[in-house]
Each structure stands twice: as structure tokens, then as C-alpha cells.
């Protein structure tokens, strides 16, 4: 598989800690660097959803392209920039269904049923995963890299690999994990309360 970054290194180093609201504002001003940051933050999420739904890599690529195209066209109307992951997950999944219908994989009746009763647990599950992912993205490094590696990286790097990637002694990973989980929990509970 093509790879732009070493496996497990995640989206970390290139991402600034500028808020999504500010990134969107800069994108609207035509700043391509801010667009690149948004893509770096969310491309894994958007690419993963169609794969998880059973699409092949080619279709997943097309759906990711369409999802980010819709983001670009909708930047002015994103009302909750800090919940961008949820917005993208919703758009992406709709696009999966639209493609399936187009390809005959979903009947009109199934589509109507999905729209009337969109399997709330399933949708909520994605949205919740997206919210967690968004919260992880707001962590400073090295916590962002560590939590991503521990929980979201499908290659499941072991502690020794993570220690090398983070440039830290192996023995420091356990205590660091505890601190990072604490920070993540504070972020997530703060968001839930607001």
C-alpha cells in the first residue's frame, strides 16, 4: 500500500493547534495551508468510513473526494466547526448510501427506510467515534500521537514501537498513557457538559 507517513505516526506532526473555526475562516480567505491542515486532520476518518461499510479502495477514494468537495463548498455554512468530524462522518455515510443506490446495491425501499429510520445506534456510533476522534485531535503532542497509536491505528503498534515513534524511553509510555487519558477525559467531559 502507498504510504505517505510511517505507519502509526498518525496525523500529528504537520498539524497545528489552530481551531477548526480559525482554519475554516482562513480557508474561506483562500489559504491552501489551512485546507491542508483540515485534510490532514480528517482524511483518515473520511477514508475509513466507506472501507468500514464494505466499499473497495477505489470507491472509498471517490467517496472521500466527494465528501471533502462538499466540505469545501459548504465552508461558509459550517455552524459548529469544532464538531467537524461529526459533520464529515454524516456526509460521508450519506455518500456511501448514494453510491450504493446508484450501483444497485441498495433498493429505493431500503433507502427510504434508512432515511426514515437511519439505524440510530449505527449512526450514533459513528458520530460518537467522530467526537472522540475530534477530542483526540485537540490533545497536544505527545498525547495525540500516543492515544491515536493506542486506540485508532489499525496496525496496533506495540509499546516499543510507540516509544520509538515518540522518541521516549519504553518505561515512560505507561505513565504518559495515564496522563494523556486523563487529559482526553477532561476534554471529552468538558465538551459533553457544554
Amino acid at each position: 500500500m502507498e504510504s505517505r507517513r510511517p505507519a502509526g505516526s498518525s496525523v500529528v506532526s504537520a498539524i497545528s493547534r489552530v481551531s477548526n473555526a480559525e482554519l475554516i475562516r482562513r480557508c474561506l480567505d483562500g489559504d491552501p495551508e489551512s485546507w491542508s491542515v483540515l485534510v490532514d486532520k480528517y482524511e483518515r476518518l473520511v477514508y475509513a468510513i466507506p472501507l468500514r461499510e464494505g466499499c473497495d479502495q477505489e470507491l472509498a477514494r471517490d467517496i472521500a473526494q466527494e465528501t471533502f468537495s462538499q466540505l469545501l463548498a459548504s465552508l461558509e455554512s459550517i455552524n459548529e466547526p469544532e464538531s467537524l468530524a461529526s459533520w464529515l462522518a454524516t456526509v460521508c455515510r450519506r455518500e456511501v448510501w448514494r453510491r450504493r443506490r446508484h450501483n444497485g446495491g441498495v433498493t429505493e425501499l431500503e433507502l427510504v427506510e434508512e432515511q426514515l429510520d437511519p439505524a440510530p445506534d449505527f449512526v450514533d456510533g459513528y458520530v460518537h467515534s467522530a467526537e472522540v476522534y475530534d477530542a483526540v485531535q485537540t490533545l497536544p503532542n505527545p498525547c495525540r500521537s500516543l492515544i491515536f497509536g493506542l486506540f485508532f491505528d489499525p496496525t496496533e503498534p506495540d509499546y516499543a514501537t510507540l516509544a520509538v515513534q515518540l522518541g521516549r524511553p519504553l518505561g515512560s509510555i505507561g505513565p504518559l498513557r495515564g496522563r494523556c487519558l486523563g487529559q482526553l477525559r477532561t476534554i471529552m467531559e468538558g465538551r459533553a457538559a457544554s
Binding site: S3, V39, R44, Q57, L72, L75, V132, F151
Partner: protein, 189 residues
């Protein structure tokens, strides 16, 4: 999805693989139940959606979606009306607006209307409207550069309010994600 209990799953995730040892460690904390519940939720969210590496060609195509500044379509807007010069239409604003003026500019992708209302001899309140040609309205970033620099966002209909500007000559622009319209205007009566 997973037949293991929450402690077994967490024990596997956090090394050691012994749920009893983990339970002992967690139970020593007063927040045991809350910690267990929160960690289980986190694990659920992550297991639901592992995030594979995106192929480089896919990533590059996503980055390239945004036209760089040099790829923005730049359009000069021509003045098509200025009530300060085209006096025949001034009466349409009514006597109560006698001090105010209206200017209109036209470019290939959008027209721009500017309303000026003098506040003092040297200050004019400027508002306006960017009207996209041939499609639904959209929001823009409007800039005025001159004796005083300001940038504002329009609403989704393209309406904007730059506020009070010192009289003078300004280069103005309205930019959305794929094009920018530019014009210049003298602010003042």
C-alpha cells in the same frame, strides 16, 4: 461485537492481559466505576472505526481540492453606476437619503452594490451586497484596503457592513473559495 467483558478488553489493551490485576489496580481508585465505564466507551469508539493510513495518491487529491491563491479566478469589476455621478437615478432613493449614495460594480461572476451614508464630513458608513451571477447566494470575505483596512464576512445572502470608513480611495475585494472580485471606489461624497 465483542464477547469479552470490559475488564478483559481493557486488560488486553493496556498490556499484561490479566483482568484481575487490572481490576485490582482500578478498584484502588475511588472513581473505579466511572473510570471503567469511560475507558470502555473509548475502546468502543475506537474499535468501531479503526483509521487506516490513507494512500498517498488519495491524500494528494484531497489536498489539491483547494485552489491555491494563485489559482483563484480573479475578476475586475467595472463600475456600472454611481449615484454621485449618474444623477438621473438619485431621486429613486428619496429625499430623506439625499446625502447617501449608491454605487454598482459588475464582474463576470458577481455584481456588487455599495451604499454609502455620510456620518461626518470625513467618515462614511459603508454597507453592500455581493450578488453571485447564475447560482444561489453564498458568503464572501469582503476587504477594503486604503487609508483604513478592514475585512468582514458577508452573511449567506452576500450582505455585508464594513462600518465607518475615513473618506478616501479604497481597493475592495470580495472573495469566496474559487474566485475573487476586485474593484476600487472613492468613499466620500
Amino acid at each position: 461485537m465483542n464477547e469479552l467483558g470490559p475488564l478483559d478488553r481493557l486488560a488486553l489493551k493496556f498490556g499484561g492481559g490479566d483482568p484481575n490485576q487490572l481490576a485490582q489496580a482500578l478498584r484502588s481508585r475511588p472513581t473505579f466505576q466511572g473510570d471503567l465505564s469511560w475507558l470502555s466507551e473509548l475502546l468502543d469508539a475506537a474499535e468501531r472505526l479503526p483509521l487506516p493510513e490513507v494512500p498517498a495518491s488519495v491524500s494528494a487529491s484531497l489536498h489539491d481540492l483547494m485552489p491555491s491563491r494563485r489559482d483563484l479566478r480573479m475578476e475586475d469589476a467595472a463600475s456600472i453606476h454611481d449615484s454621485r455621478r449618474d444623477t438621473v437615478l438619485v431621486g429613486a432613493r428619496g429625499e430623506q437619503y439625499a446625502d447617501g449614495w449608491t454605487a454598482a460594480f459588475s464582474a463576470a461572476s458577481a455584481d456588487v452594490l455599495i451604499d454609502g451614508e455620510p456620518i461626518t464630513a470625513n467618515q462614511t458608513d459603508i454597507s453592500g451586497h455581493v450578488l453571485v451571477r447564475g447560482e444561489d447566494s453564498r458568503a464572501f470575505t469582503v476587504r477594503a484596503t486604503g487609508d483604513y483596512n478592514i475585512a468582514v464576512r458577508t452573511d449567506e445572502l452576500g450582505l455585508f457592513h464594513l462600518g465607518s470608513l475615513p473618506n478616501g480611495v479604497y481597493a475592495m475585494s470580495a472573495r469566496c473559495h474559487d474566485f475573487e472580485v476586485q474593484w476600487s471606489i472613492e468613499v466620500g461624497s
